[in-house]
């Protein structure tokens, strides 16, 4: 779980953060304006490719993607 958190956090930083904003596992990604709704698609596709899962579109909500911790919970649901 810790590995997954770190992998996702690193991806979010590399993909979306263009200044010195610091990110924690609980930082609000969508509601905090770090990831815009347009760009969520690449995060979803990254998770699907990385963990070999398929996340239904209706589960890939801004709420479910709003922090690294929440994303890990979502991914774990589909890893089972």
């Amino acid at each position: 779980m810790e590995d997954m958190k770190e992998i996702i956090k690193d991806y979010v930083i590399k993909e979306y953060v263009e200044d010195d904003t610091e990110l924690t596992y609980d930082s609000p990604l969508i509601s905090g304006g770090i990831v815009d709704s347009f760009s969520m698609v690449s995060l979803k596709r990254f998770l699907e490719n990385k963990y070999n899962i398929s996340i239904p579109d209706d589960k890939a909500t801004p709420e479910a993607f709003d922090s690294v911790n929440k994303i890990c919970l979502l991914v774990n649901d589909y890893l089972k």
């Binding site: 760009s39 698609v41 690449s42 596709r45 990254f46 490719n49």
Partner: protein, 415 residues
């Protein structure tokens, strides 16, 4: 629903909040034709003031060119005022098709379709040519009209960091399983005045079998050796699948836009693009004016050559004065002030000095990137630019920003 006091109060509160936040837009009434020298009423009710305009998209100085005005008059006489119909019912005249063919030749594409505006072209094109099986990959700084068009399209959408070709390649790899991939960019970015790396983008699109879309609204008529646009500048004419552009900026400045590119994609727009299907096209006198504009620009590069010289003079003058500008060589020259209030104050003081230039700040540009966006025209003479530089030096001295670094300005005024 009746327009109740409660409803009125709700909107009044929203508008008041906009004013309180400094985001309320106020129009300035110009009493003359659009040109380098204009007469402005501002604020409303004030006496007219003669100012030099350095914030118009009138790049080629054609907005009030006598030959263009004469052609529009002739078009009005020969083809009337309006069409009272959309194109496919009874709203297409011979001159509409003539203009489409002239744009096709000018841009070096296969075919062209006119739209009431480039905003409409961008709103309609993606939905017309893509489906839910496809993906659109856009630069993160594309124009708002493209974002609106993307929202109206069922295809998947992703973004790449501004002008970051490595990031674009990653995205093309990530979405390689989609039926069609379309890379979307502005040719010249309107806020920063920088130019898309179309040569690299064409390479990547060829490597990953993707379509390339370019909005050349801030380029058509003057970027590239003969003014064809960013595709000419980057040596990739004939390799852009879709170009959208406007006739509301360099190409006469009136109104109208188009989608120009692969003939099948243009035909898809003719069959499916909603702003084309459900709205009248460009009015006959404007069509006649744009035809004249293209004749002028096809006959000589004098105007774009003058614009290039004016731009070089202006950029050097601002740098020599000790102001910070965005790098580049386009006629969009942002003078960076970083702080929103400072940008508003400088704009107001420039106006007092007879120079009309507007401050841009968040949310139009990122927080801490407030600026005065200046735009140079072939309609400017050197004396206009010298007077404007003198005003910038005077106002810059007042605010103690000449020769200062970004950090020094931020230290004085904040972000």
């Amino acid at each position: 629903m009746a327009y109740t006091d409660k409803t009125r109060g709700m909107y009044t509160e929203v508008l008041t909040n906009l004013k309180d936040a400094g985001l309320f837009k106020q129009e300035r009434y110009i009493h003359s034709a659009q040109a380098a020298d204009i007469e402005v009423e501002f604020p409303s009710g004030a006496s007219l003031k003669k100012v030099i305009n350095i914030c118009a998209n009138n790049y080629l100085g054609l907005s009030s060119h006598p030959e263009v005005v004469k052609a529009a008059h002739a078009g009005l006489d020969s083809h009337g005022y309006g069409m009272s119909s959309v194109r496919f019912i009874c709203g297409t005249q011979d001159i509409h098709r003539t203009l489409e063919q002239m744009v096709t030749k000018f841009l070096g594409t296969e075919d062209t379709i006119l739209f009431p505006s480039c905003m409409d072209a961008n709103a309609g094109v993606f939905e017309a040519v893509l489906t839910k099986d496809d993906v659109m990959i856009s630069d993160r700084l594309v124009h708002a009209s493209i974002i609106d068009g993307i929202r109206l399209c069922s295809a998947m959408h992703d973004t790449f960091k501004h002008s970051d070709m490595g990031h674009l390649e990653e995205k093309l790899q990530l979405h390689n399983d989609k039926r069609l991939k379309m890379v979307i960019t502005d040719g010249v970015f309107s806020m920063d005045g920088d130019t898309a790396k179309l040569d690299k983008m064409v390479e990547l699109c060829e490597k990953y079998d993707a379509l390339l879309f370019v909005d050349d609204s801030h380029s058509s008529g003057f970027i590239g050796k003969t003014g064809r646009g960013t595709h000419e500048l980057c040596g990739v004419m004939g390799k852009i699948d879709i170009i959208t552009t406007t006739f509301g900026k360099g190409l006469g400045g009136a109104s109208g836009g188009c989608v120009s590119g692969r003939k099948e994609l243009v035909e898809m727009c003719r069959q499916k693009a909603r702003p084309y299907l459900f709205s009248n096209t460009i009015a006959p006198p404007v069509v006649a004016g744009v035809i004249k504009v293209l004749e002028i620009l096809s006959a000589s590069t004098d105007r774009r050559d003058k614009l290039e010289k004016n731009t070089a003079f202006w950029r050097k003058g601002l740098l020599d004065a000790g102001l910070i500008i965005k790098d580049g060589d386009t006629p969009i020259v942002p003078v960076m002030l970083f702080n929103a209030k400072l940008a508003q104050d400088v704009s107001r003081d420039l106006y007092d000095e007879g120079i009309y230039a507007i401050g841009f700040f968040f949310p139009v540009v990122p927080q801490g990137a407030a600026r005065i966006r200046t735009q140079i025209s072939a309609g400017h003479e050197i004396h206009h630019l010298e007077k404007a530089l003198e005003a910038f030096r005077k106002v810059g001295k007042k605010y103690n920003i000449l020769g200062k670094t970004k950090q020094e300005i931020i230290d004085m005024y904040g972000m």
